[in-house]
Symmetry: D2
Subunit: 431 residues, 4 copies
């Protein structure tokens, strides 16, 4: 998080232009003025309590109405178990990308994919990629592996005790699995790994979680496992934490990347050169050349994996479909690969080891989010694997579209026109 001399110097001088050192110190000094009142209202979503919060905020009616319209069909009741201190809802526009033909293990057919975004050109770009894939006969998308992780940490008195404790835990594998099983009908503890570091032992507990993304499920199961261990272990740890930050929860990590966190999915398509030319205005050779330069760019940037803009697809998809958008942090890693086939066509593949999605739990039952899942026919139990395969297919569409745009020079043009509101449409085969 370093900064070099000249740049820091310039930044600081600009900062100090606007005020004196003394003013700065003053503004950074401790203030003991009385605090404003607490946020009122015990009930998270009742109209009365919501109104009492608005009184605190003192915004004009129009601004308030954009978040909350009392009475106008605007009950916040559906959100009771999804938020606290509620004041209304923020509206994120949803666009359709598609049709996207997918030949998956679980997802099969032609999908219209809802994307919630405020970024111009994003939906257009994914839709463009989706259509090209579909015209080529669709992409294969396969769920390869799954596992949701919690990593409790235990403090022992010594490395020797840590080793003996670790041995005991491994020997109790079946018991621990049974303990976990008592907390959930849907989840299953499928692996017990461990990392010993001095007198600290991290257990690495991997679970299947049914059709839920499962973070809560595995927390509760892990809590039970920890409590069992603390009560029964031959060598009782001095302390423990239900999560010791080795799980990769809400962050991109090499550990999740080399194993799996959530669902690992790969998708591929082969695009004929003519289709690339007519629809994306580029060639397999050009995409292959870009791939090399961008893969080495990613390597030099120190990213985990090497891909283009996976996060764009996932953020828009997760928000639309009631997934946890904080998981974009961990999901937006992967590998994109383009190459020219022996026949001179383009082979394209994406592999994503950390897709964190579910079709039950989280925000999936909320009205607009549920509707987005319904658009794809993937609402409710039984659909999580298919949802993950759609994710990978969507990402593939986006990687193709953006790369083609970078190769053909459309990239800047598209952003310039759509984002800045010019009249001219984005250059696209269909317009």
């Amino acid at each position: 998080m370093a900064s070099n001399e000249d740049r820091v110097g310039k930044f600081l001088r600009r900062l100090l232009q606007s005020r004196s050192s003394a003013e700065i110190v003053q503004s950074l000094s401790r203030s003991d003025e009385p605090l404003p009142p607490r946020i009122p209202g015990q009930d998270p979503v009742s109209d009365d309590d919501v109104e009492s919060r608005w009184q605190l905020l003192k915004l004009d009616e129009k601004s308030k109405a954009s978040l909350y319209e009392h009475g106008a069909g605007g009950s916040l009741e559906p959100y009771r178990h999804n938020v606290e201190n509620c004041i209304g809802t923020v509206k994120v526009p949803v666009g359709l990308a598609g049709p996207l033909r997918i030949r998956g293990m679980f997802a099969s057919g032609d999908f219209h994919v809802p994307l919630a975004t405020t970024e111009a050109a994003l939906v257009a770009s994914y839709s463009r990629g989706a259509r090209v894939i579909s015209e080529a006969g669709g992409c294969v998308s396969i769920l390869l592996h799954e596992g949701m992780r919690r990593t409790p940490g235990f403090g022992l008195s010594s490395l020797t005790e840590a080793g003996l404790f670790a041995i005991w835990c491994i020997e109790q594998g079946d018991v621990l699995r049974a303990v976990a099983a008592k907390t959930t009908r849907h989840g299953e503890l499928i692996d017990i790994g461990m990392a010993i570091e001095g007198n600290h032992v991290y257990l690495i507990l991997d679970y299947t979680t049914g059709d839920a993304s499962g973070q809560n499920m595995v927390t509760i199961a892990t809590q039970a496992v920890c409590e069992y261990i603390m009560e029964h272990a031959a060598i009782r740890p001095q302390f423990y934490y239900v999560e010791a930050n080795l799980s990769g929860d809400k962050k991109a990590t090499a550990h999740s990347f080399v194993s799996v966190r959530g669902k690992k999915v790969s998708a591929e398509v082969t695009l004929p050169a003519e289709l690339l030319a007519s629809r994306l205005h580029t060639t397999p050779q050009e995409l292959d050349r870009y791939w090399k330069m961008s893969a080495i760019g990613a390597i030099q940037s120190g990213s985990i994996g090497a891909q283009g803009h996976v996060a764009n697809a996932l953020a828009a998809f997760y928000i639309a479909c009631g997934q946890d958008p904080a998981c974009v942090a961990e999901s937006a890693v992967g590998v994109t690969r383009f190459e020219v086939t022996a026949k001179g066509d383009l082979y394209a593949a994406v592999t994503l080891p950390s897709i964190v999605v579910g079709t039950v739990g989280g925000g999936t039952a909320l009205p607009s989010q549920h509707a987005c899942l319904e658009i794809m026919g993937l609402a409710g139990p039984g659909n999580a694997p298919a949802l993950a395969e759609v994710c990978a297919a969507l990402v593939l569409a986006g990687e193709l579209s953006i790369t083609a745009a970078l190769c053909s020079g459309d990239f800047t043009r598209a952003h310039q026109k759509l984002a800045r509101g010019h009249d001219a449409p984005v250059k696209d085969d269909a317009r």
Copy 2:
């Protein structure tokens, strides 16, 4: 992205239980059935075109109404320049966290922070952390550095030419800055770095971008720089791309982490031991002990930086405030540090080198998003630095709250109760 023998074996066997190899191959095979019709409607948001899209989707009225209510004040016109193929809006509930007292260079005062999330307990947890910070006199939060990056790539015929081309570019620094300046009144090209890799040259262009997060601004400026270079360079590259994937756009990278992408901000607070005990049910010593174990957990996980759940704050804040939630991928890195002071209190700090926020552009002018910015008094020009300082303060609140919960055992309890809809409230000092 590896999986070991036993786990893969189990996963595959479960997969193959449900169907035969032949069925799988069949479902993965190319389909040449006719594609469904294209998504109709040239206009992104007009009622007619939106309706035509809904006719394609064939959802029931109730589901449709959750996204789009024709006539009922539901015009999508505000979203014209933010989305394509629009079918309505997804509603994300917004809760308030606060009050959060901040003593910043730019953000100063007591803030109620709007968070858009569907994850139970999230707002409660941030609010709890915010109040403790405020009761301790507030946190300092300082914008330390800024810079938005594009990294065009150039292909030369040889390493020798790459070297000479690089020399030419450096010599043209002032000219390139002038070229960039012509494309924007708000942005400025502030640094021209480079990475030579064989016959490839990556330029690393860093810009200030005024009050916009600035990705489009720097793309357009970089396009102009590239075009100038291609026309005037003493040694003309064989090809170029306006972005060669070294910029860290939409992904966590070590390069952004060790420099800056967007805005770098640090926030700190010292919490008296008594306050920790009464409000968060833990001690400075316990938090320090957890910090060590979790920092080493993060190190072992191969994360970039070491922090707890920065992504939760950022995703909820970005969605509420019209920021780009795909940037959570790059922003959710940082360093959290807890330690016991000489007086026996807790010192806590977070440092975030990649906050990507703006108060103009993107989704910031959309009605509900603009209202969320207004709640904090940070809508419109002049407020981006303050917005970044609020981000860091909010993140600090969350790191304190979650860590305290992990130390006191409240973590699982809170999720169990709020997420699973039990009646008992989360254990909190205020309830």
Copy 3:
């Protein structure tokens, strides 16, 4: 691998001062002058062939004699199977560090550790750390895990075929183990992991390798496994490589760090505050404070793991003991942890997941290297686990010594005096 504008500018200007652009281009241009003769001599080490190489080199006799003294007991015969095109031997001075008391699973007793280095102060520093550990009753050092890895890669025609091929490989686990077993009496294939990326399948084969470090052993076994697969696989890959660069061979990788490559070992010691004060001139609190700052320094630097100078111990130890010093690249990762105990003493631990050592094979049978192993009583079969435990204990000694030196201010002083040849000895308790 970026460089910023001002620095690159300065560097280039300095470069161009000394010569013109034209001169540079000239010196970089292709030369078609005849090549010098090939390096003579078919026999790697015979005196005649060595002499013929020296005739080519035309060095003066004194320089030659420092590498090779014909007749003076200087036969190179012992090196016949360890080098090609031999011209003599380079002499690396060996110093002793110790005594180092180790209480390990395999290594037990007081060790004098031979270190080959040309860096002043290194042996003194390790010896100082070793003695402090010993005076505290010795350190525990435990071999926690082991496994040497090869990762062959297979190219299939499609992702579907990749999946089916992977299933086949997993199903053949026992057969593949038997195939590997035929190539070696000492090694055993213990795990078959895999990573599917589009139509590419990487197998992750982990082996035990007896008392050898085992890189050759696993290469040969993997070659046999690959040949079996290519002959028998239900779906024959289009191509394969015996190593597809996922193994972490000769490089620091997150994958090896989160699992094991070679041997994983952890060592710990508790040092009384008085001993720290009298021998290392510092306190547990000071070491704890440094640890925090340096751990966050390491995190910010983007290292794999967080430690001080593990590489110094390993390079000197590997060279002395006939290990492969190129493996320093992969072995020099780990975690060092210091903390103050409840009693006010210092707890210190190191954990190293990639110690690549053996007591047979490689350079372990060469005369001087074998003698170094003998000094520790660890030459020959049966001793590899103990050798790894000595490594970790040695590393712990060095982490303690350097950190204490950084805390007490001795660091610069020691380097100044020993390296620059001043008369005054390094400040040390014993001198």
Copy 4:
């Protein structure tokens, strides 16, 4: 550093087979037996003191003689300032690779490169690669950038003070450069970067170091800078450390990789397809295909950069030439790129940002090491840039040779034959 359930279980059971839990605890328990005597001898290398150490070790004469022959021309005097507690020298066989034609900015001509290694096939492989490069007219190798880093850390009382301290340091840039300049005639402080993390400030000091690798030089200069700061800073830090572990010293880091540590060098060559076929038994297309799979393998492994076996070249070269082999840890990162040219030939490049070499200081003046530098004509002042360019060229030779071997199937064969001592020579064009 995790391990999964089944593997850990197996490992532990094997461990416990050999002894009981009680025996293990016993062997790990604290021992208070008297320590053996200290290592005798104040003088690092005098014959008397060396002999006194050998008396302690009690090895047989033959083993001793392999390290130390008293009287037989074996004075250890040359090593006086390079080692402590000396007992003799370890002999590492040196082989020649070449001729290697280099067209560099500083290194120009045909080089025979001395490599010190005990790993069979290594010299043969590098020599093979070198000759192919030479037959193609030689490789270009260019020093692109340089800078040796120290990163002192300062503890302030608060983030506010940290900011003000940072401003003060930047403003004192010229003064600090002068302070550093007083400590050395050869080095120069060329950049002062910084990283603020809460109330901690890390300075990032980059130096040129003349013809020395410079670690000691920059330590001493940084010590002076720190002392000046502690005495004169407007806001005096509470504590400081001359190195706070952000410098990347002796470890692979993303920070060094994205900037430079030591010397950054790139080398390239274009190899005609016919030459590849006749000498390396492969094709440009095959090497390109392998490159893709191996680059993605490296990406998946979480390595820093993406290359094959850079460490092999560097370890052997550093040992032969009196460089610090612990720096292999930091130097063995980089990017290798292969691609097919428009004409159907092979383009190959390596880029190494962390070559740490010098031609003065360290072990460069020791007899056999100096002779190795003389073989290349690069001993003594003025030659460090050329030495770095030779490094990159050598690495390029090795990347070509190993990759070709992996593609043609020679890889396993070569290791099998040379390492296991079979008579048949490695398959090579020339034999």
